[in-house]
Amino acid sequence: MGIVAFIHRMGSPQYFYQVAGRLVPWFGGFCALFLLAGLVGGLVLAPTDYQQGESYRIIFIHVPSAWMSMFIYMVMATAGLLGLVWRVKLAEVIAISSAPIGASFTFIALVTGSLWGKPMWGAWWVWDARLTSELILLFLYLGVIALYGAIEDKRVAARAVAILALVGVVNIPIIHYSVEWWNTLHQPATITKFDKPSIHVSMLIPLLLMALGCKLYYATVVLMRARCEVLERERNSRWVETLPEVAKP
């Protein structure tokens, strides 16, 4: 089956519902494996940091969550754009299903950052550029969720949400470059695309395992949420009524 044919068939809600249902256990299983390996590597095997002691181990959840908070936002905005311009229903569903997961990762990044900041900086919170722009990201996610819930017609709601998400994209480079543009308390990036990472391989591997695990986690949960959204939107269609799980629950 060609990729174009596959994308075309994914346009059918029924086909998407079934394919997503089959993918969820696979993504979920690999997600659990990667997160477990990352946790063992990060909390048990990785050596103690010479400056921060054991407190640095928060990095293995903090940094992947912060990466996910921005990655999911970009997926949500891109899907929103596809829904807005080409009226792709599935893109609308993916965009709105991404918002609570993105909000969750943003929340985790903020809370774990705070728990790391207290012993290292001596403060739970500072109004620093990195922290403030990440907090704005949380408000953008919450705005998307609230706006979608406030509009009755889900297709109109999806369009409104897409516009909000697209306007909010301006915040993503601000978060990313905040540690370079402003003199902030937050430390600069540990891993960049162009330089060698400023972290030892025994810490880098668990960090990447956690990052991959979080990506798979997002894939799993976004499909679970998208299935619910499709079911809700299509509840009066023939294919939903003939689903085995509806016919004999």
Partner: protein, 54 residues
């Protein structure tokens, strides 16, 4: 083993971080599972009612 849980004196900060993340991530899995079951039950109930009152 005791050293592992003590985290060099940073136990509160490290373990609270992982606990918060764990709770949030597990909740995100349970919410769509419950939502889907509720939706399926709701759809099935509406269908039964529609069959009874033609």
């Amino acid at each position: 083993m005791k050293d592992f849980f003590a985290m060099g004196g940073y136990a509160f900060y490290v373990w609270t971080s992982y606990a918060v993340a764990g709770v949030v991530l597990i909740a995100n899995i349970l919410i769509p599972i419950r939502l889907r079951l509720r939706l399926l039950a709701d759809i099935a109930r509406k269908m039964r009612r529609a069959r009874r009152e033609p």
